[in-house]
């Protein structure tokens, strides 16, 4: 556990941000399109995207006049590593407990 993963988990601690992530898993999308699809103001969408970007969960690029966001695979792989490590620790603790006499 480190601040990087803290930021990732905190970012995903918000239901709207999780929904945005789910949307981006279906493909890249612009801020404007997200604002249309979500019952949230555009500034609020931008703020959520900023948090997700700081957590390395999404990246953005300028496409013409639009800013398009997409999932950052490296960030997700890092998050996966965290859970991988977490379950190793948890199962080891479980094994010790269950084998106690």
């Amino acid at each position: 556990m480190n601040t990087y993963h803290d930021a990732q988990l905190d970012a995903l601690g918000d239901a709207t941000r999780r929904a945005i992530v789910q949307r981006l898993l279906r493909g890249p999308v612009s801020v404007g399109k997200l604002a249309e699809e979500f019952p949230v103001s555009r500034p609020a969408i931008s703020q959520h995207l900023r948090v997700l970007k700081q957590a390395s969960l999404v990246t953005d690029e300028v496409s013409g006049t639009r800013r398009v966001y997409h999932i950052n695979p490296e960030g997700f792989e890092s998050l996966r590593s965290y859970f991988d490590q977490f379950w190793s620790i948890a199962l080891e603790a479980f094994q010790q407990k269950v084998e106690e006499q």
């Binding site: 556990m1 999780r18 992530v21 898993l25 859970f83 479980f94 269950v98």
Partner: protein, 138 residues
């Protein structure tokens, strides 16, 4: 389960979600004991840094596992999912296999759990869907 399967199914145009985390451990105990410790005894082994105590999550886990059925909230598509299987071997040991899917839907985890246990969409609502198959000894 159908809903979840449909949701995680992806077409070629979709970004790839990370693959599930899979872990297994072989324990020197019967499947019945392993299952009991895993569920009822969760507070005795769950890493303290990831404490859940008497949180809604604990209740969700126990209810899901002991009932041997899926425990679900109205919107299971917004949840991560953990499946645990207990398979006894002839030598008296038990293989415990765990799969954590859709963790990008995780409401919280790790240090964040401390603050988000009781928040809507937080750790309390984290693993709303649990499924386990425990093979009882004859």
């Amino acid at each position: 389960m159908e809903t979840v399967q449909e949701t995680i199914g992806r077409s070629a145009s979709e970004a790839a979600a990370p693959p599930p985390v899979r872990k297994s451990v072989r324990v020197r105990a019967s499947a019945a004991r392993a299952f009991k410790v895993f569920t009822e005894g969760i507070d005795t082994w769950w890493p303290k840094t990831h404490h859940i105590g008497n949180s809604p999550m604990t209740k969700a886990m126990i209810e899901g596992w002991v009932g041997g059925r899926a425990y679900s909230e109205p919107d299971v598509t917004q949840c991560s999912e953990v499946e645990v299987r207990f398979t006894p071997a002839t030598d008296g040991t038990t293989l415990v296999e765990l799969e954590h899917r859709n963790f990008e839907r995780q409401g919280a985890g790790g240090a964040s759990m401390r603050n988000q246990v009781d928040q809507p969409g937080g750790w309390g609502g984290l693993m709303e869907l649990f499924r386990a198959e425990a093979e009882k000894e004859g």
